[in-house]
Amino acid sequence: MENVALHGIKSNVCPKCEVLPGELGTDASSLRARDCARYERCERESASDDSRTMFETLGIDLEKNVFHGLHLVSAPGLHKPDLIHTVYLVLFKHLMYWISGFLKKHARLQAFDDT
């Protein structure tokens, strides 16, 4: 959740690139990186409905955050991968839930537990 406040984004979007919420689970690569300077410029120059819709789609919250206006600071580059909170505590936890469902469906849960 700290990324939401630090990067000025909504909770279901990537802090590093402009992936759409509906494509988060795909193997989408070479997506456009977030460019906060461009967003700020867009906000200043045109406050039209189109730009607002674009920001809405990209999950950008245009209120000023701690990196707002800082020269040569790339906020998306500050996001670092976190093995504990991304892989161990989330993905492996999900994976165990999926595996137990899969084993239950195929009547293999007991064999798995015994092993």
């Binding site: 989408a28 504990i84 989330v90 492996f92 899969f102």
Partner: protein, 436 residues
């Protein structure tokens, strides 16, 4: 969860063994998916990377995304479940009205058809509504770019921050009197930090040759932590048992015949020792050689991708004795049994079960041999990993020797084996190896 990773794939492979004809493909996809995520995670922990390792990471992630749909039906949200229930209710309601006009003889067949249709509709709905669209799933795709741009991932680990909760908060809370506790915690850590900084400054001044008082120097000598030296490379035997003094006692305690032990000692001596330092071969002399039986072997094992950091593996071998009021413990270990080209993916190493750890003294030459009696397993399929779960299977052959002597220097560390059948070791019982 971190400890789950090394054993997850092996346990799942054993749980999904011997599938029937309809289960072969789903089981293969599930194993492929789990394997890809586990492999990706292992590559992400590397402390140095080459373009090849990064390409491996991307390949594993691609494979995970390609296979993950096998688990899609277990990503059902509450909203989807409610939709499925509603759809089923409507369907049943429609059928109840139409089935009233069906003849009783056809009703059973119709019921089966209805059930199949209901399942199909349910799966269609689940596949349409469920997804893997959450942020943490997407963040994996940035790992490889991050490594190219900033370096390895463990360098940015949040583990140190998590551990700081203990030092900065819990250690301050414990000695406080629990009144106005936040202020006490802050003061406590602030004072400790200030003292550490002061000591660092004084140390730095001393290194530059500043004139410090004797009391300050004495205090610095007492408090300055010495640089930790790397663990010695030798193996250490511990936990001497008092019930064994010579080879005869040793045979009785292990329940192995004297002839067998003598034969193994002679075989070990001939294969491993130079002619002038061999053990005596006359059984009458051999059986009286002094023996110390021990229960623990400490093996320093280089930490992953480190050159001077060692993990200590403590292999236990208590024989029939109980270990800490629990069952007896005779660990599995890796033994260097040949050159790197042997045994396929095992690279010359074989897993073995410890039977005895002992020292034998050759009084004529005043030398001590530190040996281990082990029961060796053999790789199935020449040590080639399975195509499905990438694990090697090993087994105890019927013609294998029940007791083989090896030097403790050839024991490389603890092995992690997952039994496919009964927990006890039995001939022809295959084992799955995880640490390959």
């Amino acid at each position: 969860m971190r400890n789950l990773r090394p054993c997850l794939l092996g346990v799942l492979a054993v749980g999904l063994r011997q599938p029937d004809s309809r289960q072969v493909i789903p089981f293969k996809h599930a194993l492929d998916c789990v394997r890809a995520l586990v492999d990706f995670n292992m590559m992400a922990q590397y402390r140095s990377h080459t373009p090849e390792t990064i390409a491996y990471m991307e390949e594993y992630l691609y494979r995970f995304h390609r296979m993950k749909d096998i688990f899609l039906e277990f990503r059902v949200s509450k909203r989807t479940r409610a939709k499925v229930d509603k759809q089923r209710k409507e369907l049943r309601h429609q059928r109840a009205q139409s089935n009233m006009r069906v003849a009783p003889s056809k009703r059973r067949r119709r019921l089966e058809e209805d059930r199949d249709e209901e399942n199909e509709l349910r799966m269609d709905m689940i596949h349409t509504e469920s997804h893997f669209n959450f942020v943490k799933m997407h963040l994996l795709s940035h790992f490889s770019d991050h490594i190219r741009q900033f370096g390895n991932i463990p360098m940015y680990s949040t583990e140190f921050g998590e551990l700081a909760h203990k030092e900065q908060i819990k250690d301050g809370w414990r000695p406080s009197n629990k009144n106005d506790v936040e202020r006490q915690i802050l003061h406590s850590y602030g004072r400790q930090h200030a003292i550490r900084m002061r000591l660092s400054n004084l140390n730095s001044l001393r290194c530059r040759g500043a004139n410090l008082g004797d009391d300050v120097l004495g205090y610095l000598d007492k408090t300055t932590s010495t640089v930790s030296t790397p663990a010695p490379r030798g193996r250490i035997l511990k936990g001497r048992r008092d019930d064994v003094s010579d080879v005869l006692d040793f045979c009785k305690v292990l329940g192995i015949s004297l002839d067998r032990i003598c034969l193994e000692l002679i075989r070990y001596s001939r294969h491993n020792l130079p002619t002038e330092r061999r053990l005596p071969e006359e059984p009458a002399i051999l059986q009286l050689l002094p023996v110390e039986l021990l229960t623990q072997l400490e093996i320093p094992v280089l930490a992953f991708q480190e050159t001077d950091v060692y993990d200590i593996h403590r292999a236990r071998c208590t024989g029939t004795h109980r270990f800490r009021n629990q069952e007896s413990r005779n660990d599995w270990v890796w033994v260097q049994a040949g050159s790197e080209e042997m045994y396929g993916a095992l690279r010359g190493r074989l897993p073995a079960k410890l039977v005895a750890l002992f020292k034998i003294r050759d009084c004529s030459q005043d030398t001590v041999r530190r040996l281990a009696g082990v029961q060796m397993l053999s790789p199935v399929n020449s040590g080639r990993p399975s195509d499905i779960q990438s694990l090697v299977t090993v087994q105890l052959r019927e013609d294998a020797r029940e007791f083989t002597l090896v030097d403790i220097g050839t024991i490389l560390g603890l092995a992690h084996l997952i039994s496919r059948g009964r927990p006890a070791l039995a001939p022809q019982q295959p084992y799955q190896l995880e640490d390959v």
